[in-house]
């Protein structure tokens, strides 16, 4: 009982408002702690070229997104306004030329090596319908084609070169 009595004054010694503030602070702290790693993880794109790795901040990439286009996203089944940068120009800017093959790693650990990127129809998209892409919307960076060349939008297999949730791009010469 002493123990109980000894605890009561401590709890009641705090004012009601003070308790609420502390709770709120704890929740905010927890939220910040939980949000921080995710936010830190998805805030940059790694570009690997041989032994050197370059980080491109997602904010910078969004600021540089200068092309807006509306296309039918076969995965969402609707017209979507996307904003991004030309992937070919992006590659030339960062690798000096378009590498013959690129190895992609996504945030979901999906990895693939693909070639044929010297093609102006590919865009590195960071915004969709004026909203920044997130992991939920298969971002924060997504590689999409702007031209479908008469492909059937009902057949997702025709769009399996799209890369979602891009985390890093490695040039393979």
């Amino acid at each position: 009982m002493n123990a109980v009595l000894s605890r009561l004054p401590l709890r009641h010694s705090l004012r009601h408002n003070d308790g609420a503030l502390i709770k709120a602070a704890v929740v905010l702290l927890l939220l910040f702690i939980t949000w921080l790693p995710l936010a830190a993880q998805a805030q940059a794109l790694s570009l690997v070229n041989g032994d050197s790795t370059q980080k491109v901040a997602l904010g910078d990439l969004r600021d540089r997104s200068d092309t807006t286009f509306t296309i039918f996203d076969p995965y969402q089944g609707r017209e979507v306004e996307m904003r991004g940068v030309s992937f070919r120009d992006f590659l030339i800017e960062h690798f000096g030329a378009v590498p013959p093959t690129l190895h992609f790693t996504a945030w979901d650990d999906y990895e693939v090596s693909l070639g044929g990127w010297d093609d102006p129809s590919w865009y590195l998209v960071t915004m969709e319908d004026d909203e920044p892409l997130t992991l939920r919307s298969r971002g924060p960076i997504r590689l999409v084609e702007r031209e479908y060349s008469g492909r059937d939008v009902e057949n997702l297999r025709d769009f399996n070169d799209w890369i979602w949730m891009v985390r890093s791009i490695e040039a393979q010469w």
Binding site: I33, T34, P37, L38, L135, R136, R138
Partner: protein, 379 residues
């Protein structure tokens, strides 16, 4: 030596018709085989993308079902939530849930599977509750069984659909194979048939051409001696165009008396003998002609007048060696010849002059008492 074959200079219309039919059958045959190749290439091009679509998806975005990948992340979130004791661990589970949501939130799942929308809403709710620390991680892991169940059913259904698509593809491939097999056989048989028709027509055309050439050759021959006739001489002159040639005209002296004394069969035999003698005396390059009666001609390459004289002399010597008797010869000799020759550069105009010159030389031999030869200067 470039020679224009005089026998084919005017192709008969029947041969032209045959050649047209030949071309038609050959064209049909070739078209059949080309058609067969096109069919095979078309079928191959049809099958290849289908195979690519169903069997070459490893490593691509849709190589593994999005539902499978989403389920993997939901289950990872469950595992992490069940043992989560720190905000970092809960955060890791939240990250997995975000990935799962992104992979799950696909239009085709929303359209075809009713459980998709509630499951996504549930994941969203759980994520919010976890963010606000309003749900026990164990309870959250338990609640996530609903999306796992939904995703599993989607996977199974998608696998069934994939299986049905593959079966459909397999059936379709089998059908195409049958069509390809029967079509190939039919086209191949047609190709062979057309080829056989082409060969038949080719043989007919060749036979017709050979017969025509044989007939034309016979028309150019003297039936008694087997050597050429006057027409053949004119045609050969054209064939030897622009070459230096010698023309030798040969006439049997007192042939009428020979015939009267020994009869026409013996006269014919003498003509044949003389043809043989001329052939032996003048060599293989000489072409011989019987121009009519007892008059013969020889056409042969001849670079100089001296060579022409030697040919004329060779004929005389050959005849003397043959010692052909002539019982009615006024001079009591054997068979004798009067020979006239002229040299010319072969063409239709100069031949006429050469013929006239050789004939004049022959006449001079005759008037000089026969049994001799003479050539005139080059025409």
């Amino acid at each position: 030596m470039s020679q224009k074959d005089p026998h084919t200079s005017h192709e008969p219309s029947s041969i032209r018709r045959g050649a047209r039919r030949l071309f038609t059958w050959l064209s049909l045959s070739l078209m059949s085989f080309v058609g067969l190749m096109v069919l095979i290439v078309y079928e191959a091009r049809w099958v290849y993308p289908e195979i690519q679509a169903y069997f070459s998806q490893t490593g691509s975005l849709t190589g593994q079902q999005l539902a499978t990948r989403a389920r993997g992340y939901v289950q990872r979130a469950q595992e992490e939530l069940l043992v989560a004791t720190s905000p970092m661990e809960i955060n890791s589970a939240r990250h997995a849930l975000e990935l799962a949501y992104g992979l799950f939130d696909v239009d085709i799942y929303q359209q075809k599977y009713a459980c998709t929308a509630p499951s996504l809403a549930l994941i969203d709710d759980i994520a919010s509750l976890l963010d606000n620390d309003q749900i026990d991680p164990f309870d959250a892991a338990h609640a996530l069984f609903i999306p796992v169940q939904c995703l599993t059913s989607i996977e199974m259904n998608q696998l069934d659909r994939r299986g049905m698509a593959i079966n459909h593809f397999s059936d379709s491939t089998r059908r195409h194979n049958q069509v390809l097999t029967y079509s190939s056989l039919l086209i191949f048989a047609l190709g062979l048939l057309f080829w056989a028709m082409h060969q038949r027509q080719l043989r007919r055309t060749q036979r017709a051409t050979a017969e025509k050439l044989s007939w034309m050759a016979r028309a150019m021959r003297d039936p008694l001696t087997g050597i050429g006739n006057r027409s053949a001489l004119y045609q050969d002159v054209v064939a030897y165009s622009n070459r230096s040639m010698g023309l030798i005209l040969v006439d049997i002296d007192f042939f009428k008396q020979y015939n009267d004394a020994l009869g026409h069969p013996e006269g014919d035999r003498l003509l044949r003998q003389l043809a043989t003698l001329l052939e032996e005396a003048l060599g293989e390059e000489a072409k011989l002609y019987r121009l009519g009666g007892d008059e013969f001609a020889a056409l042969l390459p001849c670079p100089t007048d001296k060579a022409l004289a030697q040919f004329c002399e060779a004929v005389q010597v050959g005849l003397e060696e043959a010692q052909c008797p002539h019982p009615a010869h006024p001079d009591n000799k054997g068979v004798t010849l009067s020979i006239g020759g002229a040299r010319f550069v072969a063409d239709a105009t100069s031949f006429a002059a050469a013929y006239e010159a050789a004939d004049k030389a022959l006449y001079q031999v005759k008037t000089a008492g026969r049994d001799g030869w003479q050539i005139t200067a080059s025409a």
